[in-house]
Amino acid sequence: MKPTRSQVTGSAAGGHSGSPARGSRGAASAQPLRIRAVRSRGLSVRLDIRALTVVVLLIVAALVASVVLIGTGDFPIPAADVIRTLMGNGDAGQEFIVNELRLPRVLVGLLVGAALGLGGALFQSISRNPLGSPDVLGLGQGSTAGALIMIVLFKGSAFQVAGGSLVGGLLTGLAIYVLAWKRGVHGYRLVLVGIGVSAVVTAVNGYLLTKADLVDAARAVVWMTGSLNGRGWEQVWPLLTLCAVLVPLVLVNARPLRMLEMGDDVAYALGVRVERTRMLLMLSAVLLTASATAAAGPVSFVALTAPQLSRRLTRSPGPNLVPAMCMGAALLIVADWASQRAFGADQLPVGVVTGVVGGVYLLWLLVTERKAGRI
């Protein structure tokens, strides 16, 4: 610290020629700032090469894992055949398995992972806390309550369960926002209110589970863990539509979100409409998370880990929305593949694997982040 400090002092006390600090100012001006942009006729778009590379690699990883996952199951299909079938040149039997059974499942996995990753990145950025993800804040619990009501009280169909979970998640998100509102929503209050809501809803879920008969209870527990089993095209289309609307909306607001990370006051001073931005982004995050949960159940820890992992890869400050999204998709597909390889097809839902990964991640946080005092 000492040398730099004396430099600063020199430059301040100085103001006359010949001071070494002034000299170094001149030299420094030759150094380019490490911010790159593509510019053309008054337009300019920032470009972070490292982040771009990470995104490309993650997309490639997700696609490769998808092909492998499509080939995995009771009827293994070699990767080459999978690709040929996807191109429309496979034989009839493989075509049915790939296009009707496994492709939609993989697509649901990709979309759910992307939505959870993006939702998690938004929540962590808004709450300014690496643990402030939707599953910790009780959104998952809320979705679960909605689904359990459908399963236990109405013995609902898969579609009704998804609907119940969507409504449950949205209502919980709304409740958290309203309860945390007090002259604006402060990050910490948001987290703590979320935890309180989560505890209450967890108790309600426990009660619903005791009310169920054993068959329903077993169905409920599988749903609560998060699973991609049996997901088909009817889950793909609504998810895809929602993502097509929300993802661009969120990305347009990524820049104000970056300003928000420096504190409300700084963001205000820079001309960000703080509460409006925060409400819009939180609503989007709740929608993304709730619909992902409705499609696959509350797959734990993807929303928590994806933003953190991607951020460590890009080494860039800010919410890292796109990398988090790609990381979520890749993570969920790899986890699904791992659960099928480790326990056999459709034995244990993917949520078990992400839960284990999440546990390991938490321990790792314990070791590394605590020292930095960032949690």
């Binding site: 002034r22 170094s24 001006s29 490490r34 911010i35 001073a269 820079l270 001309g271 080494r315």
Partner: protein, 319 residues
């Protein structure tokens, strides 16, 4: 400290590179914001005015029917005892706090009704509570000050780059551009935040206790920087300061608050008297000439005297 009219460089700094600013005949370190009118404002109305405002949080009223004008091109410092409403006033002036009654005017318009980004291009604020995001570098943080000038398709123009670099140079943090903000010392970090506010390129800059938590060397350092910005670039600065002597030395215009009321305002040498200090801070003192600058210097009365003295010889203005 200085008698130079605002807007004219007192000690032009040697700059080893080409002048970059369009209107910079005098080679200022940071190009002036385009809508800044240094001396030629014809109207007598000042740009930033709090008009009959009542300020408070929830039910607690902090100041009632307070009117304050910030003289253009001044270095205005707001002083007063703890909880007198200094920071509250600053928050209201920077639209962070909406007055319960009355209005804050910026260039004749109610500040709350103006587009957020437009205000942010005119008026900058260095708040007390700022958070440096994890793993952000100095250059990146300062670059974020360009936000109000940017758009979705205008994310990082060559102007942005130039202004960010100039801001870092004039605050002396250019060498730190690639360092992480969390590794810096308190004084360096404060300079970085000031650089960010500078990059915003606003003719008006508000600073909320910019010297808090800094040791004396860095306090002076930051205040010198402010004076430099005021004198050489003609910016209007408004700062809340704790230290009365710092305020008297650096301010061109002083506002003394107590209990949400303006007790006195004007040039420090005109208004800082022992009587005023006692009225505002409830403390006996002598006011003498600062041997360095000739500005008023407040010397608290000794314990013995404070206990016994009446307003006799101990309390005089000047020496």
């Amino acid at each position: 400290m200085t008698s130079a009219p605002p807007g004219q460089p007192v000690s032009p700094l040697p700059v080893s590179r080409q002048p970059v600013s369009r209107q910079s005949a005098s080679r200022p370190l940071v190009s002036r914001p385009t809508d800044m009118k240094t001396t030629s404002r014809s109207a007598s109305v000042n740009r930033l005015i709090a008009d009959d405002v009542t300020l408070g949080y929830d039910q607690r009223v902090i100041a009632e029917k307070l009117s304050v004008e910030i003289p253009d091109n001044s270095f205005t410092v707001i002083v007063g005892p703890n909880a007198c409403g200094k920071s509250t006033l600053l928050r209201a002036l920077s639209r962070m706090l909406k007055p319960a009654h009355g209005r804050v005017l910026l260039d004749g318009q109610v500040i709350q009704s103006m587009p957020a980004k437009k205000v942010a291009r005119t008026l900058g604020l260095l708040p007390q509570s700022s958070i440096a995001p994890d793993g952000i570098t100095v250059g990146d943080l300062v670059a974020r000050g360009r936000y109000p000038h940017q758009g979705l398709l205008r994310q990082w123009s060559s102007d942005d780059e130039r202004i960010v670099r100039e801001s870092m140079e004039s605050t002396g943090v250019a060498d730190l551009a690639d360092r992480y903000v969390d590794e810096l010392s308190g004084g360096q970090r404060q300079r970085v935040w000031i650089a960010m506010a500078l990059a915003q390129q606003t003719p008006l800059l508000l600073l909320d206790e910019p010297t808090t938590y800094l040791d004396i060397q860095h306090q002076i350092d930051v205040l010198d920087l402010c004076a430099e910005l005021h004198e050489e670039q003609g910016r209007t600065l408004v700062a809340v300061l704790h230290d009365l002597n710092h305020a008297a030395r650096y301010a061109t215009h002083l506002i003394a608050l107590r209990g949400g009321e303006v007790i006195a305002e004007g040039a420090p040498s005109d208004i800082v008297t022992a009587d005023l200090v006692e009225r505002v801070f409830g403390m006996r003192c002598q006011v003498i000439d600062d041997p360095e600058t000739g500005t008023p210097l407040v010397v608290p009365a000794a314990r013995r005297r404070r206990a016994t003295a009446t307003s006799g010889g101990a309390v005089t203005t000047g020496s």
